[in-house]
Symmetry: C2
């Protein structure tokens, strides 16, 4: 039995998840039927009485269905906020993970200073659903995207944009002046992956100085997202690596301070380093995303207290799926394949069961293979899997069911689904 398998089983057992008795007379509410109860909830408390009266079990949902367990979600929000406060930093969670205004609202209500978005269309979707403290972490590279960002800024005074080249900063300055406003800007600093951001040190300082001088712009500080460290296995290895990779950003922070430039914001970090990032001197807030849901990828990286399983946060996000074929020995076919689960690995994990492996490599169908299974399934049975990688999985669904004690408490619109532009 390999190490990963032991880890998973240990995690599932330690989480105290029991095999669930699914009601035999299940209904099967479709996405359209459920969304009619309230497709666009902004808070978890804003619950349609229709849903409450109907008291719908999650097992009565048509599948595939994306579910978030509210107790686990709320525990994750509280744990993150407690840790950040204890470490003297703020949180500015990344909405690219959930794309769901209702969750962004819960994050702000639990103490986050704002949210991040990856794309301007995502920012607009969030703003249109009542979220008004937004840091867009990606540069807008074309004139029309800059115009959209400035339009958003007109309505949303707490919208902050990132830039990483002098030319782009000048474009932002011109667009802000044309729009008759002063736009808040942070510089994006490369953490070494050369994916986005400007080189730390003198290039970053020169850019900050330029922004400070350009009309129509107000420099608010910097961001440095170290994406390359988030999934490094083993807490100490991860800690050493991210602190090394963020050190040049701190040096830039010092240069900016010495030059009298604003360092009010120094945003960075993520779910894999949330309890390390405060050691990066100057850092003001962590851009955590996946902590709300967790997934098979993050479970595998190990934590400070548990070297095998990253159990700092609870796995709140699951997919309900139905068995479509159970007539062959040793396996069953389900209705949740790549179009419902993505093909990210580690593969989805069957919740509450052991001795079976799930694969979603086929577009339409999942395959569940039995090894030494804790139970077996018949045609029409439902089961629940922990998702492989939460961000792209959420991006497949138009709505998410907010579940408490296996009951549907709200139906949340994933308002920024597909907003990659």
């Amino acid at each position: 039995m390999n190490r990963k398998f032991v880890s998973r089983r240990r995690f599932l057992q330690s989480a105290g998840v029991a095999a669930v008795a699914v009601p035999t007379s299940v209904k099967g509410y479709t996405a359209a039927e459920m969304s009619a109860f309230g497709p666009d909830r902004v808070t978890a408390l804003d619950i349609s009485t229709d849903v409450m009266e109907q008291n719908i079990s999650k097992w009565e949902l048509d599948t595939p269905a994306l579910c978030v367990d509210l107790d686990a979600l709320e525990a994750n929000l509280a744990k993150l906020q407690l840790t950040a406060t204890r470490n003297g930093i703020a949180s500015r969670p990344h909405a690219k993970t959930h794309k769901t205004p209702a969750i962004a609202r819960m994050q702000l209500d639990s103490g986050s200073v704002g949210i991040c978005t990856a794309k301007v269309s995502e920012a607009i979707a969030m703003y249109e659903h009542g979220i008004d403290r937004i840091l867009m972490t990606t540069v807008n590279a074309t004139p029309y995207k800059i115009t959209r960002a400035m339009n958003l800024r007109k309505w949303c005074p707490e919208f902050i944009q990132a830039t990483d080249t002098p030319g782009n900063a000048r474009d932002l300055s011109e667009a802000a002046q044309a729009a008759g406003l002063v736009a808040d800007v942070v510089i994006d600093i490369d953490s070494g992956g050369h994916r986005t951001g400007i080189t730390p040190g003198q290039p970053a300082l020169a850019l900050a100085q330029l922004i400070d001088q350009l009309p129509g712009l107000q420099l608010r500080g910097m961001l440095c997202y170290d994406g390359g460290s988030q999934h490094v296995q083993g807490f100490e290895t991860r800690r050493t690596r991210t602190l090394e990779r963020c050190a040049p950003a701190t040096e830039t922070y010092d240069l900016m301070q010495q030059s009298g430039l604003s360092t009010e914001i120094f945003s960075g970090g993520g779910t894999g380093t949330y309890n390390i990032d405060h050691e990066t001197r100057g850092l003001t807030d962590i851009q955590v995303g996946s902590y709300v849901f967790m997934d098979a990828q993050y479970l595998a990286i190990g934590g400070a207290t548990d070297a095998e399983v990253y159990s700092d946060f609870e796995t709140s996000l699951t997919i309900l799926t139905t068995v479509l074929n159970a007539q062959y020995e040793g396996l069953v076919t389900t209705d949740a394949g790549a179009k419902a689960c993505t093909i990210n690995q580690p593969w989805p994990i069957v919740k509450g069961e052991t001795g079976m492996t799930y694969r979603s490599g086929s577009d339409e169908f999942g395959t569940l293979r039995y090894d030494d299974p804790s139970r077996t399934y018949r045609l029409g049975d439902k089961l629940e899997v922990i998702v492989s990688h939460c961000d792209p999985v959420v991006n497949l669904y138009d709505q998410m069911y907010a579940i408490r004690n296996d009951r549907v408490e709200a139906v949340w619109k994933i308002a920024a689904r597909g907003m990659s532009a």
Copy 2:
């Protein structure tokens, strides 16, 4: 230089694709702006005059944008239909690939006897957009899904359902009687992968006999989809394999005929075997899907006339993307990552260029690395990539731009996007 690289370059050169000069003063119409011109076109001819008057270049679209080239799409439809007719079989294309009623309509108009869908929600979405000859290739495994299928059947007399167990056949019979109708049914036969379908031979025959006797059901024949052979590399290997795997289905076909059961429909095959499937005796129609678009995965399998590249159909489906970062040596970052391209491999191929490789492994960003590049890119430049695997890529987008000579001719709603239930 490895074989795959040579193949790709040779394909792109042989296809005569030149590097495109992108207009410098591009606009950037968003998805919302474009959908306002006509979000729900049913045929390619039903074009908003607004769009025509504006004469929008595809390079003026905000990105990421999913585009289908109409000349290539139409050529693929014609080639498929010509080949099928020449081989004495019909086509019943699978709409799981495109999820787009406008394309289903073009398929029916070009001579297909109907379309297939993978899920009942997909079938309903197609019917709601005017498509009324539908074979659903997957069993409905729960009472409420069966009810939905029977409701669809009430409205859509040419809706045909698949079943693969006696118990499910009895459920269909009861539901059809409760709905006061006679439902058309085919039996799904396993091609050896044990994913869906019943075992060929006596089990399949017994199921067909049961259906023939059950009230409320009318047996129309059988289907046997050999998904496992579609991407087998090399034409002859693929041919041998699929004919072997489909032989038991033909034996079942014989048994059914000898028993006086209907074999009016014997549906199977796919894009990888479209010019082989007629050799499976009894087969009436091919469930081709990807042939409308093609993708990097199908290019790699090789064809009857070209062992290296499967060039039987044209690559019509592309994603437009914009460069977000070009300040580092040897690579650029784009705005089309996993959420716009999936992480299927082979990775997307930059259209019309050589000496560079694209990767969409990161959720938000694509990475284009230069090897011996035919050109380089600056911040804000746009480029076009051939998709990795068309089905799950289409499932990420709400609309598709129908392009002719680089101009937007229509905006098509991907009405069954996300319909995995």
